[in-house]
Amino acid sequence: MKKIKIFAVLGILLAAPIFIAADHIDAPGVAGTSADIADFYAFEPTTGSDNTVFIVDVQSNVLPDLTYGAFDEDVLIEINIDLDGDLVEDQVIQAIPRDGTMYFFGPFSPSSTGLTSQVATGSALGSVEISATTAITTTTSNGVSLFAGPRQDAFYFDFIRFNEVIAPSPSDNSGFNVPGTDTFDGANTLSIALEVPNALLGTPTAVNVIGVPVYKTWVTTNRKQ
């Protein structure tokens, strides 16, 4: 029984196409498309700040033949924020490009939740010209900083070795190399960034595993039907 499980696992690992963390190219259904999420960061910009920064990366040129270079007007990016810990979004921020400009909506409380969305045109936040190499940023009247454009992929990972590490054999069972090789060094991605006053998001009642109040957040991409 145990052996059957092992060989099944090994078979799957060996048969699997190359895949990459953090979310780059994570699943065959979306890998390499204009809607493929590469990464998500959420952080306090400076100690004691009353703002939270959200950075979402879509697409990446870390490997050849991936879709990369332009935001897709049929792809709606959503940042979901759960305040009470039930893992259902209480606040949503949306971003979608039109003709060289990234439009942002929210934060708003969605009237319905789930896998299907519409653009919350009644909750316009602001917009920013999509940058080329030099970052163009803007700040809305309610204090939200906005950015959209190509950036370096800040993720770092020896993914080439990773794909070998998860399929060990008697002749290659040493794990990672130290030092390794950062596959993402030199890679670019398409980023959107927002710095949002916490007051616009609400006060979380959810806590993390060590009891600190937290927003529970996640990002989705959604394609126009």
Binding site: A27, S141, T181, T217
Partner: protein
């Protein structure tokens, strides 16, 4: 309806331009609301999801599970994926057991440093067991959301002084650009109670670091915080 909304949007934009620009353009205070119509109509269906980095990549054990994970709402994820995540975690340990010439039963996931930290001052022992079993860890990870604290410094996870005291340990308050999320994930999955199990020593494989660190020019200290493209 659409035109009304667009005007609303551009009114907001003009207000933001005024805030930014009024200090050096006081004479030009006649914003004109553009009459451009931008079409945001339509219905959008979810195709990709990310919470914590690498969860779907590492713990979903088949193409079908990876695809399903991307279109599952977080409140359903634990029920849908915990069992297969745990099987994948044990399967990776079993794969190394086999590759190293042992039997699969010889090498299992070992409760990790997070459990030692949660146990606090009282040492982990038979009577005070490490609470982070494979089931507990994969239950936490199956709920694939990124926690971010609005009023605490951001650290994906930092074991502080490390074993055995873990003084200063903190984590689960967000993900900063410089956080080494791969090493942290590897430590929690393969590092055992010291964080250093499978550390490449004494004939063991190196499974607790991938051996790379962030490139300095990838990040900056001001918005948007990420470096210009190469």
């Amino acid at each position: 309806m659409k035109v009304y909304n667009i005007k609303f949007l551009f009114a907001a934009l003009c207000a933001s331009v005024l805030v930014v620009g009024c200090s050096n353009d006081d004479d030009n205070m006649n914003p004109v609301t553009p009459t451009i119509e931008v079409d945001f109509s339509g219905s959008f269906s979810q195709v990709d999801h990310i919470g914590r980095p690498g969860i779907n990549t590492v713990l979903s054990r088949s193409a079908d599970i990876k695809n399903m994970h991307n279109v599952t709402i977080p409140s359903m994820m634990q029920a849908t994926f915990q069992e297969s995540f745990e099987a994948q975690l044990e399967g990776l340990h079993d794969a190394y057991a086999i590759a190293l010439g042992f039997t699969a039963a010889d090498v299992d996931y070992q409760p990790n440093i997070l459990g030692d930290i949660l146990n606090g001052a009282e040492p982990t022992s038979e009577t005070n067991p490490n609470p982070v079993s494979a089931t507990v860890l994969t239950t936490v990870l199956a709920n694939d959301v990124l926690e971010v604290a609005p009023n605490a410094p951001t650290t994906y996870f930092n074991a502080g002084a490390g074993a055995p005291t873990f003084d200063g340990a903190i984590g689960f308050t967000g993900r900063a650009l410089q956080d080494d999320v791969i090493d942290i994930s590897l430590i929690l999955l393969f590092g055992g109670e010291t964080g250093a199990r499978f550390n490449g020593q004494d004939g063991f494989p190196q499974l607790v670091t991938d051996g790379v660190s962030i490139t300095a020019d990838n990040i900056s200290t001001s918005f948007p915080y990420i470096g210009a493209p190469e």
